[in-house]
Subunit: 184 residues, 2 copies
DNA sequence: TGCCAACGTTGGTGTCGCCAACACTAACAA
DNA sequence: TTGTTAGTGTTGGCGACACCAACGTTGGCA
């Protein structure tokens, strides 16, 4: 890429002129071209904002990031083993154990041994959990709006579609944590 | 969303039937609709794959994730203070200190006090650093291809464009770490 | 001269993704 | 019936990362 020269005795003025830019337009110009052209770099940096916004939003209503995914999974797919919960939501089964404990403690799910297979626990959402999920739905909708604020409806759908395909691809190849998968 | 019923005495068969799906097509159907429609969730999950792939790729050539961004920034924008390096690359200045130490140690950058402002260090890329950057360029190109494998050229450009706009938006609002910004 | 802010450093924290190891349980083949 | 393999859940733990406070030095400005 183009090489710039620092003036004698100091920092390149052009660099400092753009680094502090506050207008969103052209802000990417202050990031190195090599990395701002990398989807991985963009995804990682964007995820940091998403993570912070999500944590703030759910903490504000006394929730945790993973609560939504787990409750949503139970609501949609019905009662589930912890292992399957992890598969639906992309969580390691050791983390699921801790998360489920928290939701049981909160009364939002209940756990019972599967009489058909005593290796498994059956996790079910409770009425309180359903109520909680409805609360989270509002949080999630606001969050989506905030997170995708610079995009219109069509662009939002496009971003979600492209990300989904990339995530499907890599999930198929790698799986979520600690799962057997083809090619392993 | 649609409610499914677990059969008496066990886990809902439909759920387990789709959880283990290995074909990428429709894999998203195994994720709760509430979350798979959230860009934030998708970005976070995709970032986990990106992070792993990036770490693996750079580690394989004896590098670290942040090496590329820092060297790229110095190459493109010229010598820079540590604070400006952090601004260009989205790193906290305390982390930049550690990263620069590592690059100095490796001989890929050199550090000198700014005679014009003794608060600042001037960080410059070295010939060895330029050579290293060229190595990383190859790694990054391969990485991009692997990461965006399921997308064609136009879709890749679209994803990068959309992510860039979202990242610009949130960077403008929030900044990278520990920076004054409008509305703070 | 005093105040405010920038820079760089040090030390530290909390979260997260991931993993090993183990005990229990189930399915299946010999 | 026995041994093997694998699934499930739990516990304990690790490394990376993003983030922050606090401090000393330096510079700009009123």
């Amino acid at each position: 890429m183009g090489e710039s020269c620092a003036p004698a005795g100091g920092v390149a003025a052009a660099a400092t002129d753009t680094v502090g830019a506050t207008a969103a337009e052209g802000l990417a110009a202050s990031w190195p071209a090599r990395v701002r052209g990398l989807a991985g770099w963009l995804v990682n940096k964007t995820a940091v904002h998403s993570h912070r916004l999500t944590a703030e939003a759910f903490t504000a209503v006394g929730g945790r990031r993973f609560h939504y995914a787990l409750l949503a999974s139970l609501e949609e797919f019905g009662s589930s083993s912890q292992a399957d919960l992890g598969r639906h939501c992309g969580f390691d089964r050791s983390d699921v154990a801790t998360m489920v404990n928290e939701l049981v403690q909160a009364g939002h799910v209940e756990r019972a041994q599967d009489p058909a297979d005593r290796r498994r626990n059956i996790i079910a959402i409770t009425p309180a959990g359903r109520s909680r999920l409805a609360d989270f739905d509002v949080v999630a909708a606001d969050l989506q709006d905030v997170f995708l604020a610079p995009l219109d409806t069509e662009e939002r759908a496009e971003l979600i579609s492209l990300l989904t395909r990339v995530l499907e691809h890599h999930t198929a190849l790698h799986g979520f944590a600690r799962e057997p998968h083809p090619g392993a």
